[in-house]
Amino acid sequence: MTNWTTMNWTLAIPEIVLSCFAMAILVFGALWKRESFRMCSMMAVGALLVTAMLVVSNSSGIGYRGLFTNDSFSGFIKLLVLVSSALGIIVSLDYAEHENLRRFEFPVLIMLCTVGMMIMASASNLMTLYLGLELQSLAIYVLAAFARDQLRSSEAGLKYFVLGALASGLLLYGISLIYGFSGSMAFDRLATALSDPTKASPGLIVGIVFVIAGLAFKISAVPFHMWTPDVYEGAPTPVTSFMGTAPKVAAMALLVRAMATPFGHLLPQWQQLIVLVSIASMLLGSLAAIGQTNIKRLMAYSSIGHMGYTLIGLAAGTAVGIRGVLIYLVTYVFMNAGTFACIIAMRRRGRMLEKVSDLSGLAKTDPGLAAALMIFMFSMAGIPPFTGFWGKYFIFTAAVQSGLWTLAVIGVLTSVIGAYYYLRIIKVMYFDEAHEAFDPRPGSLTFVGGVSAIFTTVFFLFPAPLVGAAEAAARVLFG
């Protein structure tokens, strides 16, 4: 049981340090008279790395009167979020130069967003959960509209903002119901109060449903996915890349923790819901992507499908399932960051290209880029030995162990359907007529694409550290 009188200030040191860095960079950028985008971005990456080191060295425990908790689960998620935020900033460096978005607020907003995601990872109270989520979402809304002179970007930001506000409303309504029917917002007190599932009132269950709905919006699971293709397409591509990785990880972690810790005893009640959402997301993700010609929209549908697979692990409701979720999230982050690095490299005579057909014959004009994109597409389709296969392997094993056969079978079937459009991109790159070559790509994109491609390829040789860390993190939630 929590010691309710202790503060344990030091537990949140990584968050505090990162927000101080963000504010310092903000002041620096505002006062520095010359071009400061690149320097601020570099400092932001440095700050994220420092924070990552602090996360590693930080101790576990519960602090701030039970509002905040540090354990190996939150540490795992925080490291992943920090890495993907750093990748997001690096990917934006060159894009911002070309598209005239050189503004120092960009890295600052990403950093504050990261603070929000770290708070989400450590939330052990529904109020902390909400504030972390809101900090993260608000920064993303602004980032989505960052190219304010482009109609598409403004539309994406506004659309995301309005729908996100609605989702926040659903979430808050659910939280208020839970609080009203149980009398507490702290996760451990809720868990104690609900240790006898028969005592859970219908109002409380309705509250949980609303919370799931609000969080499903943030991970863009069906039926709360409507915003995803438009926002992905409209937002500046580095923002799309960032949006598709870190916030998804954080929101998924939040969903996992919220379902496992306070409502762990109500597994049968929320399991059906997660199963339904998961099946719908997998189906829509694989079927709707087939007709897409814009690669950003295609990635949006692909991410919906991936979230469907991830939810299988949560539906399993065991430590093995959560381990699968964590491994899947890691593989997903690197595949996605790498793919978007390739998409940002699609630039001909200074103009961004977004069509799948623009890739035709890439293998002849730029074999390196084509090979990297091929690795990511194979991985997303779930073809061994790439990481995507291992992510799916751990997830499906967990589902089978928990007896969720239908879910596993549907998952396998939809990944076969999904393989069609991933393989189509490879076919376009390798077997179609070559176009004019792309502009030479900058080192930052080569770096992100290369790191992601190497991780995606060689992970199967050294899986032990990641699997071990994921296992330790999952044990925290399902002992």
Binding site: E105, V108, L109, M127, G132, L138, V142
Partner: protein, 239 residues
């Protein structure tokens, strides 16, 4: 006895002024009655022992919100007569909806029973000898300091977002340069002359400072525009 009397006086004025808010013909009067209503509500809070809420109500609602309303009402030329135009036409429907709501309210209240346990938790557990300002402060700034600071970060993001998405500096905005204001010489803009009585002088027009002003658009880098929004302050006060 006096407390009861005070309660009824404040409550009566509150209800009366609230009724005037919606029925006054002049919108400015409405806002003034709203301020009166806020003051009386604050007095009721004081009687109930919630002195912090009372002060907040006065400071936030009267000090900021109501004055803002007043400005909006006085500055925007809203045609309230046109807004009231449909009043007669929609009156029957409105009355019917109100009646249904009233009946429902009556049904709910007549069947309402508090759980015996609920009575004990209806009032927040008070610590004796500690004012509720101190209690709230302890809760917000000590127990929930993490949430308080996170909320601050959310507001910071909102502020950055508003500036990033809307502020544009085309280079022609007038910026306040305090050093230049201070360095001005009265002789540049003021002419002293002796005039004979009953004799006018010809119009000199506006006098501008004569020193050469540095070109502003050139030496201001792009990033500079985020410093502050005080750009419309005219230099020296004349346009």
């Amino acid at each position: 006895m006096i407390a009861a009397l005070a309660f009824y006086v404040f409550a009566a004025i509150l209800i009366g002024s609230a009724a005037m808010v919606v029925s006054a013909r002049n919108p400015v009067h409405s806002v003034l009655f709203l301020i009166l209503a806020f003051f009386n509500a604050a007095a009721l809070f004081l009687l109930a022992g919630a002195e912090f809420l009372a002060m907040i109500l006065v400071i936030v609602y009267v000090g900021a919100v109501a004055v803002l309303f007043l400005f909006v009402v006085m500055m925007l030329d809203v045609d309230f007569a046109a807004l009231r135009g449909g009043f007669q036409r929609y009156l029957p429907v409105g009355l019917m909806v109100g009646l249904v709501l009233l009946i429902e309210l009556g049904l709910v209240l007549s069947g309402w029973k508090f759980l015996p346990e609920a009575a004990s938790i209806r009032f927040a557990p008070g610590v004796s000898n500690v004012s509720n300002t101190a209690q709230l402060g302890r809760l917000i700034y000590t127990d929930y300091v993490f949430l308080f600071q996170s909320a601050g970060l959310v507001l910071l993001v909102a502020m950055i977002g508003a500036i990033v998405l809307t502020l544009r500096d085309k280079g022609d905005s007038r910026r306040q340069v305090i050093a230049r204001q201070i360095a001005r010489d009265p002789n540049h803009t003021m002419v002293m002359m002796n005039l004979a009585s009953h004799v006018g002088t010809k119009d000199l027009g506006y006098l501008r400072p004569t020193e050469t002003e540095p070109e502003e658009a050139g030496d201001m880098p792009e990033q500079d525009h985020h410093e502050h929004a005080a750009q419309d302050v005219a230099r020296g006060g004349h346009h």
